[in-house]
């Protein structure tokens, strides 16, 4: 079916309008971040005249972003790696039927998507962990990382589907050659699952990096803040100083945007796979 000229022009017009709605806010933020506070008050919207790079160094040091970035990296990397590993531990035997009642276990894990909101009891649980062991539970890095590690979510379901497409003959050949279970998982199965692992890593990492509620509930001390919470605090501190806040936004968003342009294709495909499978 060929499109007429008018539908094509209309299509581009609609997309163009929407692009404005998505791109202009980002450009405006960057524009404001370069203004001095006085220039912002006089001329909040126009293009910047005297570029004030000093805003960035001020925001960087006063916002303590280096520390928050480090925390966010710790949470994201460890919880993502752990999630991939425990999801593999869960998915492989269930997909192959190497444990009893694997069908039932699959359904039990699937249930995680439909359970009532566990927040109330989870909060009480984290507090009582902290009561009994000081290094674990509420307001500890370890507690938060384990809370965010899950072997039963969307990644698990994607893995089960993918492992079923890997031939069982491979298991038998490896077993014949005397390979143990753990070695087989890490040396043979893991490399074979590269595409689905890339998807899983991206989905999990975005979720943890951008977690906003979790840190507010479970990481109240400033030394534990991740970048999301840090940005929130920064806003609380600088209320209406938008040039400085815009620097904060840019500092947090720029690395993400740069990373995103490189992995964009995987991410778009990955998000799809995740959503459709779930």
């Amino acid at each position: 079916m060929r499109n007429s000229k008018t539908t094509q022009i209309l299509s581009y017009a609609v997309i163009g309008l929407l692009l404005i709605l998505y791109v202009v806010p980002l450009l405006l933020v960057f524009n404001v971040s370069l203004k001095s506070f006085n220039e912002y008050l006089l001329n909040p919207i126009g293009i910047v005249k005297n570029i004030e790079w000093g805003n960035y160094s001020q925001a960087w040091s006063e916002g303590n972003f280096a520390g928050y970035f480090a925390n966010s990296l710790i949470y994201t990397v460890t919880a993502t790696v752990l999630t991939i590993i425990v999801s593999l531990f869960a998915a492989f035997p269930v997909a192959r039927g190497y444990v009893m009642w694997s069908g039932f276990i699959y359904m039990f894990f699937l249930l995680s998507q439909f359970l009532p909101n566990p927040m109330v009891a989870q909060y009480k649980l984290m507090l009582s962990f902290k009561e009994s062991v000081s290094f674990f539970g509420y307001d500890t890095k370890l507690g938060y990382i384990l809370l965010k590690t899950t072997g039963t979510g969307v990644v698990f379901m994607m893995f089960v589907g993918y492992i079923k497409s890997i031939s069982r003959d491979l298991d038998e050949a490896a077993g014949m050659d005397g390979s143990g279970y753990i070695r087989y998982l890490f040396q043979i199965i893991l490399p074979l699952m590269k595409p689905v692992i890339a998807t899983g890593v991206i989905l999990t990492a975005i979720g943890i990096w951008n977690d906003f509620v979790g840190p507010i509930m479970y990481l109240p001390s400033p030394s534990n803040y991740p970048i999301t919470f840090g940005l929130k605090e920064f806003r609380g501190q600088y209320g209406n100083n938008w040039p400085l806040l815009a620097c904060g936004i840019t500092i947090v968003a720029a690395p993400l945007i740069i990373l995103y342009t490189f992995i964009q294709k995987y991410l778009v495909d990955g998000a799809l796979a995740g959503a459709v499978k779930s």
């Binding site: 079916m1 997309i15 709605l21 998505y22 791109v23 806010p25 405006l28 933020v29 008050l41 531990f89 035997p93 039927g97 444990v99 009893m100 694997s102 894990f109 249930l111 359970l115 009532p116 909101n117 566990p118 927040m119 109330v120 009891a121 989870q122 009480k124 009582s128 384990l146 899950t150 072997g151 039963t152 490896a174 390979s179 143990g180 279970y181 753990i182 975005i206 951008n210 906003f212 509620v213 999301t228 940005l231 806003r235 209406n240 938008w242 806040l245 904060g248 936004i249 947090v252 993400l256 945007i257 342009t261 964009q264 294709k265 991410l267 778009v268 998000a271 799809l272 459709v276 779930s278």
Partner: protein, 306 residues
């Protein structure tokens, strides 16, 4: 103990203790799930019938339906109903507008426009940036004093708004930001559905003389109904249970509280009473369940396979 490991399949990685390794490793994710998710979820339901307090070592007793009665028939019940109404408005508007816009844009992008990869990447960007950044970006756009949107309003209509500080409008702007943020996600799911529609069906339809709307209504729509189901589920569950956008913009002030926000607020910053937020979680769960069942029934009816 043979029965624990040996099911239908032969286990090729050794005998004796080796047979138990898969089970032992499976216990790790199982334990994480039960301790942090499944257990708390069930406990929340149980808590809703008790007078449990958020104090270490305190005991609790079953109080029947007292918490539920307190939710709806006490002095605060007016506020509670307002949260429920807000939640339903939020869910309906987000589900309908987000999926409507996403489907429309997906159909447009799917006609092989130049630069389609760029467009979808841009529309998906807010999900990558995350709610903290998105809320701050729109906080600047919607700044009542110097924000660009207020300037625009002033120039166009000679009118100024308080945005996130307005008792009547704040909730509407939150809904807008939520849709802005997740529209790209729904659009991607629709695009995946659209790309699986075989092209020759359209040609067959074209020979039979269908117009654009007819071919959309009778060819495209039935075939992408599965992605429609997925999107409906995601946005219903998402809209009913997310409150991070509210937390990040108004923090529940200016009549922007929803049930999910109330659960958080009562658990975390309210009294020591935990039965009340538990009961609220259960009500929230029941409402989600109701709408999910209805939505799945409705969309399943329209699914076809060629």
């Amino acid at each position: 103990m043979k029965w624990i490991c040996e099911v239908r399949e032969m286990y090729p990685f050794g005998k004796g203790f080796n047979r138990f390794i898969p089970l032992l490793l499976l216990l790790i994710p199982m334990a994480l799930y039960i301790v942090f998710y499944f257990g708390p979820s069930i406990l929340t339901v149980i808590y809703s019938f008790t007078d449990v307090k958020n104090l270490p070592g305190s005991t609790y007793q079953f109080v029947g339906l007292d918490n539920y009665r307190e939710l709806f028939f006490s002095g605060n019940s007016g506020e509670r109903w307002r949260s429920i109404v807000n939640t339903l408005i939020f869910m309906f508007v987000v589900t309908i507008v987000q999926n409507g816009v996403a489907l429309f844009i997906a159909v447009i992008i799917n006609q092989r426009l130049k630069g389609d990869y760029f467009y979808r990447a841009v529309f998906f960007l807010p999900v990558v940036l995350g709610v903290a950044v998105v809320a701050l970006i729109w906080g600047m756009m919607f700044d009542p004093l110097n924000g660009p949107v207020n300037r625009l309003y002033d120039a166009l209509f000679g009118y100024q708004d308080m945005f996130f500080g307005s008792f009547t409008h704040a909730f509407g702007y939150i809904i807008f930001v939520q849709i802005w943020m997740y529209m790209g996600y729904s659009m991607l799911i629709f695009l995946a559905g659209l790309q699986s529609v075989p092209k020759d069906l359209y040609e067959a339809g074209h020979i039979d003389g269908t117009n654009k709307w007819q071919s959309f209504r009778h060819i495209t729509f039935p075939l992408i109904a599965p992605s429609f189901t997925v999107n409906m589920l995601l946005s219903i569950i998402g809209a009913m249970s997310t409150f991070d956008i509210i937390l990040a913009t108004t923090d529940g002030r200016f009549n922007t509280r929803t049930m999910a926000y109330d659960v958080y607020k009562e658990t975390f910053r309210g009294s020591l009473e935990m039965g009340l937020p538990s009961a609220l979680s259960v009500i929230q769960f029941l409402i989600i369940l109701l709408f999910v069942v209805v939505a799945v029934r409705q969309t399943r009816k329209r699914e076809v396979e060629y």
